[in-house]
């Protein structure tokens, strides 16, 4: 439909808009206009890419056989579409939330530029390209974390940076190790291992695979490098936490996806210690994340732990190496992005309107801001996996994928679903209890805690939009499932 250079447009356009914001220092109204329009237009600009077939565009070459190029395959298109859309909606939400903050030029400049980088990241054609944009994204999101410039925010930003770089360098080490055994570094379904050399270097390949998985797993919050999430989320502004949790973690997922299925190949990993370790780590993270969220009293930190757990659901699906598991994982990417963003936006709305951050302060919040809490409750149910929300559908596929996994011990195949459900139970415990206490507070609550404090439409509409999407996609998941089944069929 379009020629391949067109892919640069959705990458460069928001980046240019970001630079314009940074350089122009526009007034508040102009800035809002500029940001919302460019995010919206960016979504529209992406549509031709989504509709056309596989595009490939070469940017430049690092050396003779290390080209840096963009390629629009189905996976990349899905991630790019999801990320741009969520970025746009959360961007709208942030106008009201950030209205009273300072340094907005810096914030929105980084926000816009990250959007472009994310599109490039999703459309990356090789691991080298991916790695380049991955680091760029990590650097560009640090200002979002440290936005308030308070002491703990800066500390959290540094921690975020250290973890990002640690993970990325681990991945880079993996890439180096791998370099002797691959034919190229471009993402190709079923992997690019060189059959002649990979056989004798099997152990090196496996070690490299583990390094890449753990390295990219850092962004996805997988144990043992999950530590940045619960630190960075509570201090970042709510819209930033929303996208960090909903979108930035998914870049780690994309990295693991690319490595496992399009670089090394599922067949190489099936039944090896790498798959066991990967499954074990994800199952452990799923359980522990929920349990820690259940015990956490700070709402945003609770949501951060919840993300640790939920993103590992996705990784768990990828670790099963089955088509059903992959479908479930990608469904859960979609579900978790929508749901967790809504949850963080609700938490942000609560902070913005009432200044409450702790769970036990939330008694009666449902009477104060019923619309926000309805969004919160519905998406919480979705995250628990109550039908007919999308979270239920994804859980179904994840569990079926796990039960169908070949090459792993029988007990591990059913331990996965069991842990998913125990985690779902804990999710119900830590998300529904604030909702219930919010809607049905004790009778002796002071009257000031019952006055209406609903936020404006700019905040409410994005939340409602995501909430409806998460339910509607759950009722009618057919299109998504078809798309993901095609992806899974190509790579397995």
């Amino acid at each position: 439909m379009v020629s391949s250079w067109y892919m640069l447009i959705p990458v460069l356009f928001p980046a240019a808009a970001g630079i314009a914001v940074a350089a122009g220092r526009p007034s508040s109204a102009v800035r809002k206009m500029l940001v919302s329009c460019s995010l919206g237009i960016n979504c529209l600009l992406l549509i031709p890419v989504l509709l056309s077939g596989e595009l490939e565009f070469r940017l430049f070459s690092l050396s003779r056989d290390l080209p840096v190029f963009l390629k629009a395959d189905d996976t990349g298109k899905f991630f790019a579409a999801l990320m741009s859309f969520v970025w746009f909606v959360v961007g709208i939400y942030s106008f009201e939330y950030m209205a009273h903050e300072r340094h907005l030029d810096r914030y929105y400049a980084c926000y816009l530029m990250t959007s472009g980088v994310l599109t490039a990241l999703c459309l990356s054609g090789s691991i080298i390209t991916f790695y380049m944009f991955y680091e760029m994204m990590a650097l560009l999101t640090v200002p979002l974390v440290v936005h308030t410039m308070e002491k703990d925010a800066v500390a959290a930003g540094i921690k975020y940076l250290i973890y990002s770089i640690l993970g990325a360098s681990l991945a880079l080490l993996g890439i180096f190790l791998l370099s002797g055994y691959v034919t190229s570094f471009s993402f190709t379904p079923k992997g690019v291992l060189n059959p002649e050399t990979a056989g004798e270097g099997r152990n090196t390949v496996l070690i490299a695979a583990m390094m890449l998985i753990v390295g990219f797993g850092t962004k996805a919050g997988m144990f043992p490098l999950h530590g940045w999430l619960p630190t960075a989320h509570p201090v970042a502004p709510a819209p930033a936490s929303a996208v960090l949790s909903g979108i930035i973690t998914k870049t780690g997922v994309l990295g693991v996806f690319r490595v496992v299925y399009e670089l090394i190949g599922a067949e190489t990993l099936r039944g090896t210690w790498v798959q066991m370790a990967f499954l074990g780590l994800t199952i452990f993270t799923v359980f522990s994340g929920s349990l820690l969220a259940y015990r956490e009293k700070l709402l945003k930190k609770r949501l951060a732990y919840s993300s640790v757990s939920q993103v590992s659901y996705v990784l768990f699906g990828l670790a099963t190496l089955t088509p059903l598991g992959v479908v479930g994982a990608l469904l859960h990417v979609c579900a978790h992005s929508l749901i967790k963003d809504t949850l963080f936006m609700s938490a942000g709305a609560i902070i913005h309107q009432t200044g409450k951050t702790r769970v036990e302060e939330l008694n009666g919040i449902g009477k104060q801001m019923p619309k926000v809490m309805i969004c919160f409750t519905v998406v919480s149910l979705g995250l628990v996996g109550i039908p007919p929300c999308l979270g239920f559908v994804s859980k179904w596929y994840l569990a079926q994928g796990s039960l169908a996994a070949a090459g792993v011990p029988q007990w591990l195949t059913w331990l996965g679903p069991a842990v998913l459900l125990i985690s779902a139970l804990l999710t119900a415990g830590y998300l529904l209890s604030p909702a219930i206490h919010g809607f049905f507070p004790p009778k002796d609550l002071p009257a000031e805690d019952l006055t209406r404090r609903e936020p404006g439409a700019v905040m409410l509409v994005p939340m409602a939009c995501f909430m409806l999407l998460s339910v509607l996609l759950g009722i009618f998941p057919g299109g998504l499932i078809r798309l993901f089944s095609n992806i899974a069929a190509a790579i397995l």
Binding site: L291, F392, V393, W396, L432, K443
Partner: protein, 724 residues
């Protein structure tokens, strides 16, 4: 059918949006429409399949049993709906109640119409969560606590069932009701897989039905929920659980005797325990709730007997279906009565509502119809018919075992006795309620009421709720058999002609009534009542600690996450802990610094040169030491013992001169202390020693080296000089 399912759902939003005045008519209108719709579908069964919804797609089908129960469901909703306006006349949260009530209606109809376990589960979950909101409608602390229990049981049950469905779908490849049985028979893998899957699936349904040991929500939730909600919870939502259990038992575990026996044991425990709890309770609605637990026990026993008897289980299957229908209707009627009491008195404690029914014939008749039916008193009690069939089922299975010569016969005899005792206990607690409400004098009886105790609409609801029961009881063959026969396509066995009023059945009923009367007179009147201020009052003698929920479930659920969480927080914290983030980098830093500083450290700067010096000195001294050693050993000169040293001329003269000086001084200055020394001798010896030393050095290697060095220097100088 799609319209029928969506209608209440849409209506829920419409009713919420309507102005106050139109809300209740809209609500009741919806219920009437739904009732008409279910009736129509019951007589003209239809199927509906919605592929792709929620992933696997939903399918619905309304054949005999499901169509029948959907009609009953809509009927109950309608009747309770009629009571709603009066019951909630002071409640500000009515719109919320109506909204969730209609959502639950849609979901419950979905559960009954569902044609596969996936659709069942989807509707079941929606139903469980939507109904939570009306359990806590009153928002009292007690209600909140009960709601917590209800929600926890619903969520845990739902998730466990989901796990069961994962396994079933994986192993059987289908969840459709009509394909399950064949798939389970054809399954080639180990039976234990299917067994696990069945029990997991069963768990959620059993939790909803109120089977022991997960019956805990029923006695908690019913007393605090509004009466119309209690009626539906008890009459309908428990039956959705039974429906799911029936599918699991009859379709997946067809012919599985172990499964049936285990279910029978659980059913028997539930049946007896519920009845005992009911007997001890002193709260009207709690008694009814415990009664529900007990009756569900009867139904589950019937279910397992059907399973045990297989294709010959017609009587047991009839009994199960009919007891379900009866129990739904009885509980509708009794809870509406309880609701009427509560609307007027705002009390449910038996001591405070005593005598309320006096002089209220309508309430009296309605309550009596329900009580007779649930206590199974022929001929007006409809429950008699169904419970007799269940009893017959037991006898039938005992016959089968006897023919087979099985030793398990005695166990079933014991079960039969337990069955009859439970029946007796049912009679006893219903008598307790009846006498308390309508026979005894009490605080409520003399109350002058300024207005009628029920509006016309509520009265209509009461009449409607009880109308069917005596008819069903009297005309068992004409009315009940067709109902049950319609259901057999769902339950399995063939249809058969049934006789209700046989001597055998009447005997069973009479035994139960006898036990009931005895228990009432002995236990209730003597043990469960106490004389206070000259009046007998009801007391709760059930020990407070004997509460499964408070004693086991809540502590476990409270402490387990804490304990696990502690361990887990530790493990999860390791990568982030001080040990890792501080001490490991610190340690690595220390080591690096140490290694990096090593070249310029004290050891290297001082000790190494010193060491090298020492070593080289030692090496250099080796020849000298050797030489010295040789001097002292091999080349030692034999010294003359008293050799007089030989001086030279200079020493001789100096010595003589010094001797003279000494003698001069000895005589003058040093008189007191004269110096006696022969300087001539001393000087001669010194000279000799110096000469020897000189000789030794001259002969040493070092000296040779020194000379060589000098020689080299001279050579170099000469060479250099030559070069220029």
């Amino acid at each position: 059918m799609l319209y029928l399912l969506l209608l209440p759902l849409m209506a829920a939003f419409v009713v919420r949006a309507l102005p106050d005045r139109w809300r209740l008519p809209g609500f009741i209108g919806t219920l009437c429409t739904v009732f008409a719709g279910t009736l129509a579908i019951c007589f003209h069964p239809v199927s509906l399949s919605l592929p792709g919804i929620c992933g696997l797609g939903l399918s619905f089908h309304a054949d005999g049993f499901r169509g029948l129960y959907a009609v009953l469901c809509a009927f109950m909703w309608l009747v309770t709906g009629l009571l709603t306006p009066e019951y909630f006349r002071h409640d500000r949260q009515l719109p919320r109640y109506l909204f969730f009530n209609l959502v639950t209606l849609a979901a419950t109809l979905g559960v009954f119409y569902a044609d596969d376990l996936f659709s069942t589960l989807v509707c079941f979950e929606v139903m469980s969560l939507a109904s939570y909101v009306w359990v806590i409608q009153e928002e009292e602390p007690q209600a909140m606590r009960a709601g917590q229990t209800y929600l926890a049981v619903a969520v845990i049950g739902g998730l466990t069932t989901l796990m069961g469905l994962f396994l079933l779908w994986k192993n059987l490849g289908t969840l459709r009701y009509d394909e399950l049985q064949a798939a389970a028979v054809a399954f080639a893998g180990p039976r234990s897989t299917i067994s696990w899957a069945s029990w997991l699936t069963l768990f959620g349904f059993a939790a909803k039905a109120g089977l022991f040991p997960i019956h805990i929500w029923l006695p908690k939730a019913h007393p605090v929920a509004p009466a119309p909600a209690s009626a539906i919870l008890s009459g309908m939502l428990t039956k959705t659980g039974v429906l799911g259990m029936a599918v699991v038992a009859l379709r997946i575990n067809h012919g599985n005797v172990d499964f049936a026996n285990a279910l029978l044991v659980l059913g028997a425990v539930t049946m007896f325990l519920g009845a005992v709890l009911g007997l001890f309770s002193v709260n009207l609605k709690r008694t009814l709730a415990c009664s529900s637990v007990s009756q569900i026990g009867f139904i589950v026993c019937g279910l397992s007997l059907t399973l045990l008897l297989g294709h010959h289980g017609t009587i047991a299957a009839y009994g199960t279906v009919l007891h379900m229908v009866n129990h739904s209707l009885c509980k509708l009627c009794l809870f509406l009565c309880a609701g009427t009491v509560f609307m007027n008195l705002e009390e449910l404690d038996l001591n405070k509502i005593r005598g309320f029914g006096k002089g209220k014939p309508l309430l009296h008749i309605v309550f009596l119809a329900g009580a007779l039916s649930i206590a199974c008193i022929p001929p007006l009690g409809a429950g008699f018919n169904s419970k007799s069939l269940l009893h017959e089922g037991i006898l039938e299975y005992m016959e089968v075992l006897e023919e087979a010569g099985s030793g398990a016969w005695g166990w079933y005899k014991a079960f039969e006795i337990l069955f009859l005792i439970s029946g007796g206990l049912t009679v006893a607690y219903m008598t307790k309620l009846y006498i308390c409400l309508f026979r005894e004098e009490g605080p409520a009886s003399g109350k002058p009421s300024g207005r009628k105790y029920a509006t016309r609409l509520s009265a209509a609801a009461l009449i409607l709720s009880c109308a069917a029961l005596p008819l069903l009881g009297l005309f068992g063959r004409e009315l009940m058999s067709p109902l049950a026969a319609r259901s057999m396509s769902f339950f399995g066995p063939e249809e058969k002609e049934i006789f209700y009023f046989t001597w055998e059945n009447l005997k069973g009923a009479l035994i139960s009534i006898g036990i009931g009367a005895a228990v009432y007179l002995v236990v209730v009147r003597c043990f469960l009542m106490r004389r206070e201020n000259g009046r007998k009052v009801y007391v709760n003698r059930w020990p407070a600690w004997l509460d499964l929920e408070e004693a086991v479930y809540r502590p476990v659920l409270k402490w387990l996450p804490i304990l696990l969480g502690k361990a887990d927080a530790f493990v999860m914290g390791i990568p982030d802990s001080k040990a890792v983030t501080r001490w490991i980098p610190h340690g690595i830093g220390r080591i690096t610094v140490f290694v990096m500083r090593l070249p310029e450290s004290f050891a290297v700067l001082r000790a190494v040169p010193a060491g090298i010096t020492a070593v080289s000195r030692f090496v250099c001294e080796i020849p000298e030491r050797l030489a010295s050693l040789m001097h002292r050993s091999l080349f030692r000169k034999a010294k003359p013992k008293k050799q007089v040293p030989v001086g030279n001329a200079f020493t001789y003269r100096l010595g003589c001169f010094l001797n003279r000086c000494t003698s001069l001084l000895n005589r003058t200055v040093w008189r007191g202390r004269p110096l006696r020394q022969d300087f001539e001798y001393v000087l001669a010896r010194r000279r000799q020693e110096a000469a020897e030393e000189q000789e030794r050095i001259m002969s040493s290697v070092s000296y040779g080296f020194l000379l060589m060095l000098i020689g080299i220097v001279i050579v170099v100088v000469v060479l250099l000089a030559h070069r220029t």
